[in-house]
């Protein structure tokens, strides 16, 4: 663990990313302290520019506080990113592990299913799912997970394929260990590093997809998120730039930071790739 941290901290931008994410999480966690009111509240004069009328980052067309929205929206955006990724990773591990471990017809069938989901134009499919399930935070999470798991499945399958022939796994067979135990206890922990790396990048992508869905008007109307703010502010980009610029910057910074952390994790977990020799 210490080793890992030593390797991680060698990548300065990854440390920077970690600090930023920490700050965003802190912001989300203390949202109710920083802005102790409903972010949808009509807090003052509409379309106040940043710094006027007591609005740090300005207000939107209904007079809602953009800063309050960003702080409260952080919670939603991070949660959507995290939950959608967890669900996708779970499905991906399920498919990938079974396919990679058992091979043969099971692999064949599961990979065909994966291929189907990889072939469907993903964003349109996500839109379809949200439209059918009706826009809500749950349908957004489901849609993002459904379109993101095939990548994980392929990755996990590849890892399982190579790990299942490793001698330590064969040793477990010779001890008479059950398949489930071998998969969960022996193989899975050994492919966690690439899963963590791809997972961290998926959180970033999920946040971007959420904002894209909100841009098209498919976000949850009852929950403040950065995507919602952008969707609500995009028509006034020219007249009141701050309404959707600040949430856009929030997304940019968060996604950037998550990416930096992802790369840092990648470097630290796969030290081989770190530098040119």
């Amino acid at each position: 663990m210490r080793d890992f941290w030593n390797r991680y901290k060698r990548n300065r931008s990854a440390v920077f990313g970690l600090v930023v994410i920490f700050l965003v999480i802190l912001m989300a966690a203390t949202a109710d302290l920083l802005y102790a009111f409903d972010p949808f509240r009509l807090a003052g004069k509409p379309l106040s520019s940043p710094g006027t009328n007591g609005f740090l980052l300005g207000s939107d067309s209904l007079g809602r506080d953009v800063a309050a929205g960003i702080v409260h929206g952080a919670k939603t955006s991070l949660l959507i990113g995290l939950v959608a990724t967890l669900v996708a990773v779970f499905i991906g591990i399920l498919f990938g592990a079974l396919a990679g471990y058992y091979g043969g017809q099971i692999d064949n069938i599961l990979m065909r299913v994966t291929e189907v989901f990889q072939t469907i134009p993903s964003f349109i499919f996500a839109i379809l799912l949200v439209a059918i399930l009706k826009p809500s935070i749950y349908s957004v999470v489901i849609a993002i997970s459904v379109v993101s798991w095939p990548g994980v499945a392929r990755l996990v399958r590849g890892e399982f394929l190579s790990l299942k022939n490793r001698e330590f796994v064969q040793a477990c067979h010779t001890l008479g260990m059950s398949d489930l135990r071998i998969m969960l206890r022996e193989i899975l922990p050994n492919c966690l590093s690439p899963i963590i790396v791809i997972g961290s990048l998926m959180i970033a992508t999920a946040i971007l997809i959420e904002s894209g869905l909100s841009f098209l008007g498919l976000g949850d109307p009852n929950i403040m998120s950065w995507g919602f703010q952008i969707g609500a502010g995009r028509t006034m980009l020219r007249s009141a730039w701050w309404v959707c610029t600040f949430p856009g910057v929030a997304i940019l910074i968060t996604v950037l930071a998550i990416n930096l952390v992802g790369e840092g994790l990648n470097d630290a977990l796969n030290p081989r790739l770190r530098e040119r020799n």
Binding site: T119, F123, I124, L128, G212, L216, I251, L252, L256, N259
Partner: protein, 328 residues
């Protein structure tokens, strides 16, 4: 077996393998769409202003929407097998005509985006890897990270503001100048000018992706044993980079490009919407909200087929780049 006949067999096999996938996609979407509330008739009636229930029932009968679902599905599948994608409820036109109309703009945007993203991605990744840990590497890396992390529509809107309104270099939207209706060569130039902003916008995200990937891939390949061999042979760094490392480093990028095609078709919805580009993405979006079942299924069918074909092409390119992979 000769190489070309091998490739032919491979292509045939892959296309046949694609059929069940496409069918599965069509069937999944058929049932998903039927889970949704409301149908095409509701939308048409809602738009028309008012319509009596009798009139709506008549329309449903005309569209075949009064049949039980399995019957509808069988009828649809039977027609698809006969290469008939059916009739768009909303547009009152054969789906195939509608789709073909919108296919070319989509293909144009896709191809130009892929070329731009892959081409520049490879170039920038290469440059960053060659100038590792210099300011050039830093600039490229930061550029890639930022473009990767910026929401697409934001980039699009900003492009319009800067390049159309402030600088006046490019039109804001559309595929052709609708006042002029150019013919021949002028039309090609006109479309090219309209293509610039949407292509840049859509490709920025993928450009960033490929840049980062190419950089990492180059670095990985630089660490391989054959590079040491090449150095031991007294080759120049130039030759090592551009002949030995580059070709090996391209492999994962090519694979990635193939995987991304599906996402690209879908991801273009936003760009099509922002730039009023007449592609399949927007058509799918509209037909979804119009519950234009046949049209949406047709788009899913075509775009899935497109993804499969592009993946096939990528695989063939891959096998040309990597002699270890045989097309079979």
């Amino acid at each position: 077996m000769t190489r070309s006949s091998k490739i032919f067999k491979f292509v045939l096999k892959r296309l046949l393998q694609g059929i069940p996938i496409i069918l599965a996609i069509v069937i999944i979407n058929f049932f998903l769409l039927n889970l949704a509330d409301g149908d095409a008739v509701d939308v048409l009636a809602g738009e028309a202003g008012s319509a009596t229930p009798e009139y709506m029932a008549e329309l449903r009968a005309k569209f075949g929407l009064d049949q039980p679902l399995p019957v509808q599905l069988m009828v649809y599948l039977k027609n698809v097998v006969m290469l008939d994608l059916g009739y768009s409820f909303r547009h009152d036109m054969p789906v195939s005509e509608l789709i073909v109309d919108r296919f070319w703009p989509t293909a144009l945007l896709m191809v130009s985006t892929i070329i731009l993203a892959v081409g520049f991605g490879i170039l920038l990744g290469l440059l960053a890897a060659m100038r590792l840990n210099t300011w050039k590497d830093a600039v490229i890396t930061v550029f890639a990270l930022i473009t990767y992390a910026t929401p697409l529509f934001w980039v699009g809107l900003m492009m319009i503001v800067v390049f159309s309104l402030n600088l006046g270099w490019f039109p804001t939207s559309g595929m052709e100048n609708v006042a002029a209706f150019y013919e021949g060569w002028d039309r090609v130039k006109d479309i090219a000018v309209h293509l610039v902003l949407p292509t840049i916008t859509l490709s920025l995200f993928y450009l960033a992706l490929y840049t980062r990937m190419m950089r990492a891939s180059m670095l990985e390949q630089y660490g391989q044993d054959y590079v040491i061999t090449a150095r031991a042979k007294g080759l120049t760094e130039r030759r090592i980079t551009f002949v030995h490392v580059l070709r090996n480093a391209l492999l994962p990028v090519v694979t990635m490009a193939g995987v991304q095609v599906g996402a690209l078709i879908g991801g273009s919805v936003i760009v099509e919407s922002v730039f009023a580009w007449p592609g399949l993405g927007m058509l799918a979006f509209e037909s979804l909200f119009a519950r234009d079942l046949n049209l949406l299924l047709g788009i899913f069918l075509l775009s899935s087929a497109l993804v499969i074909v592009v993946n096939l092409i990528v695989d063939i390119i891959y096998s040309l780049l990597d002699p270890r992979i045989e097309v079979s």
